[in-house]
């Protein structure tokens, strides 16, 4: 059956990544083949050091693969760009700009050439409203909590209306309650915007809760895709209701089985 372009919106074909280090070359990834549909939510999961962030950086264009091809919307990924917005693990807000200005910097870059100033301001405020931070627009990053900073990071990424939203362990540095709260908000936002998302995580619950598909990576060096799990849970999803859903536990068990039985990590 021939696939339509939306079914292979993002294509990763035979990608390998080798780093040149002082101690010789280090093979991080090999034989990566993956396609992501438009509007799909895909998570990359694996033990730390397995190269999942490297794979995300390849999609972002921050790194260039040593072998293979990455294609987004029928065009080869040649470098980073606002159509593949990244939410970084440590929020990466510019500390000398207010929350508004941090988002506005992105909005201005993407829409500044075609839209009036008032429209840019409206877009910036809309993005902040989407993550529930209208009240903090004039605050500086050091004046707000870690969870709020990460929300500004998400607002900045969403404000660019990216084709693909890339999330690099976005909630890794947050406490459990804030993380759960932001996961729920991300679910709502993605449902509302229909974004295509690739997210890196090491949190099994997070992966099952959010994803349409979970891509499990084998341990490095020279990591590759070990297994892909399709999460068959209806949306909208509710974390409380899922607790009573047998399929949820089945999926969780499958990922845990992969990570802790088949890819048992050597004691560090």
């Amino acid at each position: 059956m021939e696939k339509r372009p939306v079914d292979k919106f993002l294509r990763i074909e035979a990608v390998a990544m080798t780093f040149q280090t002082r101690n010789g070359s280090f093979a991080a990834l090999r034989d990566i083949d993956l396609t992501v549909k438009k509007g799909e939510f895909v998570t990359l999961i694996g033990h730390s050091g397995c190269g999942k962030s490297t794979l995300l950086n390849l999609v972002a264009g921050l790194l260039k693969p040593t072998e293979g091809l990455l294609i987004c919307a029928e065009r080869e990924i040649a470098g980073p760009g606002p159509e593949r917005a990244v939410v970084f693990q440590n929020h990466s807000l510019l500390p000398w700009l207010s929350c508004f200005d941090n988002v506005h910097l992105a909005v201005e870059r993407v829409f500044g050439a075609t839209e009036k100033k008032a429209d840019l301001k409206r877009r910036t405020q809309a993005a902040l409203a989407l993550v529930g931070l209208m009240h903090a627009e004039h605050k500086m990053p050091h004046e707000i909590s870690g969870g709020m900073k990460q929300r500004v990071g998400i607002a900045r990424a969403l404000s660019m209306q990216p084709r693909v939203l890339l999330l690099d362990e976005p909630f890794g540095a947050l406490d459990a309650l804030t993380r759960a709260h932001l996961q729920d908000e991300l679910l709502k936002i993605v449902a509302a915007t229909g974004s295509t998302v690739v997210m890196v995580t090491h949190d099994v619950d997070e992966a099952v809760l959010l994803s349409d598909r979970i891509v499990m990576l084998t341990n490095g060096p020279a990591a590759t895709i070990g297994e892909v799990l399709t999460v068959e849970l209806p949306r909208p999803r509710d974390r409380i209701e899922l607790e009573e859903d047998a399929r949820y536990h089945h999926h969780r068990a499958a990922v845990l089985e992969f990570l802790y039985r088949r890819q048992m990590r050597q004691a560090a």
Partner: protein, 317 residues
């Protein structure tokens, strides 16, 4: 530190009676009132007032203690310094006493801006012309040094080219540059400015370059993902990220410029605090030399504080 606190104890004890006295009228007032009705509510109000006064006194006492704690050690240090100076001047006889120096300073500063020919001007003029000379030399150094620092920080090749030369020239004593200045400019004043320029340029170049190299990769990744223009990267990311480093460089440079100026002016002459010191030495007016030392120190301190204030303004944490 502990010894300073120990010496403070008596002060803290001495404060107690004063506070007690402040409380007294309030606590005594119900008894003193001749009215025998003794309304319970009134007593309550009075008691509350007494508590408030006591609370305020306690706060005041705490604040007073903090101020004393902050001021006492430096004051003690100064007192010790001045008595050692007085003792020294009394035993040797060659060094003017603190009192004599003070009168001569008061005399000098009561007419800071008189003018009797080029070699006899008020101390105000001397300070101002030193500041101007230092400012010009330092300004040129900033004008050249900051862009150079940016270039060396951004381009590893340029940095590799420049760093051996910088390492070679930086430790050279400032005054060794004076003959080169005299040869190039054929005049004393530009030569002095040249000396200040060349000796104060290094901290600005080095600190700016280090600042540029240390811009967090995260910020540069943000710039790459947003696809910012070179101009935006410069103004919105590099410049603000480097500013704290640059300001440290500027502060060090200004310190060096002020340090060098006295020595340079001693050799080149003209009007200026360094020249004045030399002139007063020739007049054997040692009080004035000591006054000049204090003036140079105080001006240097003020410049440093000014820049620290500026640096705090641009600290983002």
């Amino acid at each position: 530190m502990t010894s300073a606190i120990a010496t403070l104890r008596p002060f803290a004890v001495n404060l107690e009676p004063e506070v007690a006295a402040a409380n007294e009228p309030a606590t005594r007032s119900p008894a003193a009132g001749p009215v025998a009705t003794l309304d319970a509510r009134a007593a309550e109000v009075v008691a509350a007032k007494a508590v408030a006064i006591a609370e305020r006194a306690r706060l005041r006492r705490g604040r007073a203690r903090a101020i004393v704690l902050a001021l006492l050690p430096p004051l003690l240090g100064f007192a010790l310094f001045i008595s050692a100076w007085g003792l020294f001047s009394q035993t040797t006889g060659s060094l003017p006493s603190p009192a004599k120096t003070w009168t001569s300073a008061v005399d000098l500063f009561s007419h800071p801006f008189y003018q009797k020919g080029p070699n006899d001007q008020g101390i105000g003029w001397n300070i101002l012309s030193s500041l101007r000379r230092g400012g010009i030399g330092f300004g040129f150094a900033a004008l050249v040094g900051l862009p150079l620092g940016f270039v060396f920080g951004r381009f590893a090749f340029a940095n590799a080219m420049a760093s051996p030369i910088i390492s070679l020239l930086r430790p050279v004593s400032p005054l060794a540059w004076l003959p080169i200045g005299l040869m190039a400019f054929k005049a004393a004043n530009p030569a002095a400015i040249w000396v200040i320029f060349i000796s104060s340029i290094w901290p600005m170049i080095i600190n700016t370059a280090v600042g540029v190299q240390r811009v967090p990769q995260d910020y540069l990744n943000v710039a790459r993902v947003l696809n910012l223009s070179e101009w935006k990267i410069m103004t919105r990311i590099l410049f603000p990220a480097v500013l704290p480093y640059t300001l440290t460089g500027v502060r060090l440079s200004l310190g060096v410029a002020w340090l060098v100026i006295v020595a340079a002016e001693m050799l080149t002459g003209g009007v200026g605090i360094g020249f004045w010191v030399w002139d007063e030495w020739n007049n054997l007016n040692v009080e004035h030399i000591i006054v000049a030392i204090f003036v140079v120190g105080i001006v240097g301190l003020l410049l440093e504080q000014l820049l620290l204030l500026l640096a705090r303004r641009f600290n983002y944490d």
